[in-house]
């Protein structure tokens, strides 16, 4: 779910995505850059950077602000409450 170096688009979804899919249908016209990550238990979405045209229509639809423009923000890690699942996962793995 990270941005690759070779790309057309600059938008990406960080790992705090809750999987609501509001972004999935935001791409305009024949663009279809957002997809559900296969086999991800949390149902998160990602952006195919080769398909993304940088329209940014998906950004304001996100309820957790997890879609970023790499040109403005660089590559940032997700932050806030939705990162705490990692602590529970780490606790479970440590047992």
């Amino acid at each position: 779910m990270k941005v690759a170096t070779q790309r057309n688009g600059h938008f990406y979804i960080d790992d705090t995505c809750i999987g609501c899919g509001a972004c999935d249908h935001a791409c305009p016209g024949k663009v279809d850059a957002v997809f559900s990550v296969k086999d991800d238990f949390l149902g998160r979405f990602a952006i195919v950077i080769e398909e993304c045209i940088d329209c940014g229509f998906c950004v304001p639809l996100c309820p957790v602000d997890c879609i970023h423009d790499a040109r403005k923000e660089g590559i940032v890690e997700g932050s806030g409450g939705y990162t705490l699942i990692k602590e529970l996962q780490a606790w479970a793995e440590s047992r």
């Binding site: 999935d24 016209g29 309820p63 957790v64 479970a92």
Partner: protein, 394 residues
Amino acid sequence: MGQPNYTPNDIKPLPVALPLNEEGLAFYEKKYNRDYNQWTEILQKNVERMTKGDLSLHWMNTEGSSWGKRAKPSSRGLTYTDVNKLATSGKMEAETRWMNFAPRGSIREPYFDVMPVIEDYTVASRDELWADNVVTLYEEAVARQWSATRDIPWGELEPLPEDLEKASCQLFTFLTEVEFVAGDFPAKWLYRIPQDFLEVKSFLATQLMDEARHQEVFRKRALAGGGLLHASPGFEWALKAILDAPTHTMGTFLLNLLGEGLVLSIFRSGEMIAKTHVDKEIFRRTLQDEARHVSYGVLELKNYLDTHPDREKAVEEMHRFADVGEQIILTAFTESTVIEPVSILLGGGLDKIEQGLEGMLKVWAMFIEEYLQRCDRAGFNRRERCKIPIHAPW
């Protein structure tokens, strides 16, 4: 609009011995045979025209409309986003005066005065229910429907040790108990929303279907594992508080943003809570549905506050409501019928419940922080006023 004005005095009580349905039927006959006479005028005109052998063909007149512009599909088919680009789809007004079923975008203005009014359509303001993501969430909901009968591998459900099975069945009893309020609440408001806000009504209809399926899958899981266990008064009061919310936005906040957010936190922890791959599949599927409801709740509150003419007042009213709502939700979240089974499942057995309670501490922290993050996103800062302790009380 030519509607008769009824007062309670117009409704004469029928004899007690008369069945209630006859009383209701008599009232209905009175309204539609005597008072609502506009429909009979329409009928009379139609009969006269047909008797003369005349054609109307007025419906072929497109004057005043944007007839002729064709909707074009996007990559995912013909979505509401695609068709709403057209003027023919009709502009969604901030306040609608169309309290009937005349479709937005149709040629309807000439008929305004002779159409009936649905008195129960009381939510006339777009900003009492709109969320910027409601259209795409609806499309997503429709695309991701699933079947609790077919899509869960029920035949592969293996029995668990008794303590884990009872904990699982209690958790699924809890989820069965809470899920259908998330159906009843949108149902209560769906009927109060005029047709011009069809996208919101459509999304709420998907939420109803989602919750019916959740109630179904949790009930089936409990029954497949031994049976339903204990109902909980603490949940019941929280659910009643959601249904009794005075406005759609307040109730949506309490249900979608807080209550369903709590449930979403549990589902997201499903990989650690579930003790069978069948249960994991249940959590995986339900969390996707639940995420849509949470998502609508966040942006609905954001839109309400952003568009309110007196934001400060609106925020304070929401704070007053949240002060009560959070405490009632806390009543549910502290019930032993949810804390203990989840802890047993996290720990791996009744004898490991102490370890499980450590995991439950993390679930609690996750729930609160996720909730406060959602409030932040909506522009509603609850961090200083939140009535739910940030740390679990053990």
